[in-house]
Point group: C2
Chain length 587, copies 2
């Protein structure tokens, strides 16, 4: 069984001390969300995740969701905890008060996302997609649709899904075949098969609201002919009560490497009644509202799983004795493995990545709120550009690092780490979906270079780099060595960006073969930037909390010495071009 | 279900064209092992692994070995295939003809190790440890012990184990507690518990010969009081027939992340009769004969699993259509994903590592044979030093790369890769034990810097570097750019080695915190060295097999452009020292 203690102190440090984004601070909406409220919420969230949700992780892995006579049964205990979860209002944390939500900002809800992911990603997924679907309906649905569906989704008595993938189309949605035929009453009837539908069916809620991409018979082929539909599992009458079963059935559920508590379904739609959401043939745009926010949350999943893996590895290192350290004073027997330099290196590597990511995630949460709610359109758009640039980065970087960290944590457990008893290998298996779903990490990298980087005449990356440079104008002498290292890497990022822009004209394959590396460089620079903001506070506020800040400074030190310098190698190897790759004849 | 085609062509290329090690070629023992014989064996081995053993992988994962009423049952089908396996003499491939073996060199048997690992690592493990135990008994056992036990082990009707680990000691064998009390007849009675015993019990053979590390009551504590004992599961009478059950029982078997077909046992020894092997209190030395050869085989496991992962990813890339490539001519629909630059980059990355490793493994197999069988003691010892230097490198590098490759292969399958249907995620889970067992990869790195590097006044690494430099004196102009790159990295390796030697005097923690990185640098240089040998033949023999050699040259090109340059970053970050790591106060 794993242990988990929600890192409320670090979260509160960020919330209180890094809340220096003036645009965020000027948001009327969140004026009353002060530190006391944040702390209260995070402490309640910590109790919930540590005590009630954590035990569900192992249960879900050992007793996966299963399909019985056409009905999906969640693992033992899920139902009871889910009831408490919605009764206490956790689904509604970030939702609009108009529909019964608590209206909390992402600067709080993303910490909750991290905690939930750490405790049990499988359990989390049952409400996560509800929020995704909620966001999409909230933004693109008509008033009557919103009134009819949102209150129960916010309450959590109904859940939601995103139905995109089909057997022949995952990454490439242009190929999708599900048909939506308009009826005389303005509704549609949908027919087709969707696969890999997270929480596609389950027994936790009274109804499930599917958001389905489909093609009308008169729509063009490719991505320009895709519309978005709301398809309830059980039809909803005018008065809001449940009616007849809709034409949606569960064909099968996947047997997976991890997140086995989560039901990943193949859904059949047979003349299922649906309602169009947003304009016809613009379904992909509407869906991407949801997808983009969701991609950031997937990044936070990687962060949460990294945190719990780190905590367990640290804990084990303090219990397990093996061998003697280089400066051992032990006469008989062995030292704790945490006294060994190599184990310490591995633990600090995890910690320096995790805390840098958390700071970056917090920065992004602020930007996201500004992009959604700022009054000034120019400021809103600037923030939106930054969010759009960093979304693929956070999704990929946090989940890739999640693999590195959960794997390194296993390694610290040695042979025990490979057995099911310790729970550590499950973290690794659970996290392994995160670099795949919501667009594989390579798809994120392609999105970054071919969409985000060329947006607005390619000026977005320069704006971001200038923003960092502005943040580096700090007078504290002790930060100078850190800034110098970051400067060198900004230089690398700049050269790499220029190279990408140049190759975009002459050889797109060069860009494609370099995009994963480019994303990593940008991710490392962004994390270092977040670290500098943490360092700035750490030195300024040093005397008020020496122990805490000393730890921050040393952890940053590790990041700047051993993690950040990886950027250069990504740049040098990636810019070796692609001719020799494209010319290769695979047997 | 995965596909697998044993890479006999590449193996035969190495066997025929890289057999230019004059010391190896002068071994009397293998004079008759010519290309025809090698090809015949490898083709038979290919048939066996592709047709009979490959299907056992999935079966073993879905129906793991289980303990029923004190007896371990292997997965369905294992028994039948094992019978054919031993009837056809595969266990005995590399064993001494004196005991019924076929006496084939490691230049052939290590290819067979790779194939078996690719097809089903779980199945392989039932005979792998038998060979380990055979090697140990063959080297250290008395004549009467050898006569009594080896013939049936060579035949495969008896199997073997290595019993080292106990609940409190894995890496640190000095802590071991199993007791061995001498009896009046010169035998010992062993009492204690051993854990993580691969093939500790099963139903494939009539008897199991355990090699057990234990401590006599009058032996000192620590590693200097450990002796090695042979403990049969069923006692063997003087005439060689089976007698009474010995005091060895299976307490439980582990539920593991992967290699679920393999039975990993907790064994209880209760006054079990054992025979001392080798001198008293020198058990660790004797066991290390077995361990070192075994560590190389673990490296080959990583290579085998990499190969099958690559083959499946390549195959899928040629079937799956998604999105349009940068130079697409497709009007409607999508291109094969193998047309996408990023997928090609990923596939070539795998291929360039795999083929480089295979060449390095072949080089090491030659060196191993020279180290075991050369008449000239000086030559024998020189080879032995090289084998000893490269053993931790091959074990760690091949298994770490195995993780990278099996993971990248999954990534190419997208969501399908995460489901159990494709079999690709199993390769990843199965391979995940290889960086852990037979000494974690960090333990290998510690062994490399603290033992191997300081051997013979630290001259071993210089000898190795000089050997490479000698091999780089090639006149072919086209190889020059490759050699230049390797030279730069030899420079890095040299500086890194000097740094390690220096720090060994002043700060061992600096060395410990750098050892994993050092191993990686040495591994990359060693693989590049192997590639240069392949390139030399490829250019010389070019006209005779253009297609094959062109592919080799292009694959090498990828390795030198995108893989080898990683060495520099390992060097730069690792030499940042350890003070900030050792000073850190973990909460």
């Amino acid at each position: 069984m794993t242990i988990y203690r929600a890192p409320v102190d670090d979260m509160m440090f960020l919330f209180e001390k890094l809340k220096n984004n003036s645009h965020y601070n000027s948001l009327e909406k969140y004026k009353e969300v002060n530190s006391d409220l944040a702390k209260d919420i995070l402490e309640q969230a910590a109790k919930l995740t540590e005590n009630l949700i954590l035990p569900l992780a192992k249960v879900g892995d050992e007793t996966p969701s299963k399909l019985e006579n056409g009905v999906v049964r969640t693992p033992p205990g899920y139902k009871e905890v889910y009831k408490k979860f919605i009764d206490d209002g956790w689904v509604s944390l970030s939702c609009d008060p108009e529909y019964g939500g608590q209206g909390m900002p992402k600067t709080i809800s993303s910490f909750f996302d991290e905690m939930l992911s750490a405790a049990s990603l499988s359990f989390k997924l049952y409400s996560e997609l509800s929020i995704g679907a909620y966001n999409c309906i909230h933004r693109h649905g008509s008033d009557s649709i919103k009134k009819k569906f949102l209150p129960n989704m916010v309450k959590g008595t109904w859940s939601g899904t995103m139905c995109l993938t089909e057997p022949v189309c995952g990454t490439d949605l242009g190929l999708l075949k599900t048909k939506a035929v308009e009826q005389s009453d303005g509704t549609y009837k949908l027919t087709g098969q969707k696969i890999f539908i997270t929480s596609g069916d389950h027994d936790l809620t009274e109804n499930i609201i599917h958001l389905v991409l489909a093609r009308a018979p008169d729509s063009p082929s490719g991505t320009k002919g895709i519309s978005l539909f709301l398809v309830p599992k059980i039809q909803v009458k005018e008065d809001g009560s449940l009616g007849a079963r809709n034409g949606v059935s569960t064909n099968s559920i996947e047997s997976k490497m991890g997140i086995r508590g989560s039901a990943t379904c193949v859904l059949n739609f047979d003349d299922a009644v649906g309602y169009m959401i947003g304009p016809k043939n613009k379904g992909l745009n509407s869906m991407f509202t949801m997808m983009n926010l969701e991609r950031i949350v997937v990044g936070l999943q990687g962060l949460g799983l990294s945190e719990i893996a780190y905590q367990n590895a640290l804990n084990y290192s303090k219990e397990r004795k093996q061998g003697k350290s280089n400066t051992s004073k032990t006469k008989n027997g062995a030292d704790l493995i945490i006294d060994h330099a190599d184990i310490r290196r591995s633990l600090l590597n995890m910690k320096s990545i995790i805390e840098g990511e958390r700071a970056l995630g917090f920065w992004l949460a602020q930007q996201t709120e500004v992009s959604l709610h700022h009054k000034d359109n120019r400021i809103k758009e600037e923030a939106s550009d930054l969010v759009s640039l960093m979304t693929p980065v956070v999704k990929s970087l946090f989940t890739d690092m999640g693999m590195e960290i959960t794997s390194d944590a296993m390694q610290i457990f040695g042979g025990y780490g490979y057995t099911k008893d310790q729970g550590i290998e499950q973290l690794y298996r659970d996290n392994r979906i995160t670099p795949i779903y919501e667009g594989t990490n390579s798809v994120q990298a392609i999105d970054l270079v071919f969409r985000k980087l060329v947006n607005k005449n390619g000026d977005v990356i320069n704006k971001y780099i200038n923003l960092i440079k502005k943040d580096l104008k700090i007078n504290e002498e002790k930060i100078k060595p850190f800034i110098k290292k970051l400067d060198q890497n900004i230089e690398i990022l700049t050269k790499f960006s220029d190279w990408i822009k140049e190759k975009m004209k002459s050889s797109k394959d060069d860009v494609s073969a370099a995009c994963n590396d480019y994303l990593k460089v940008l991710g490392l620079v962004a994390t270092a930037h977040a670290w500098v903001k943490v360092l700035e506070v750490s030195y300024k506020d040093y005397e008020n909390n020496k122990k805490f800040y000393e730890e921050k400074i040393q952890t940053a030190n590790f990041f700047f010495n051993r993690v950040l310098p990886k950027a250069e190698n990504y740049y040098l190897t990636a810019t070796s071009g692609s001719k020799y790759i494209m010319d290769f004849k695979f047997n």
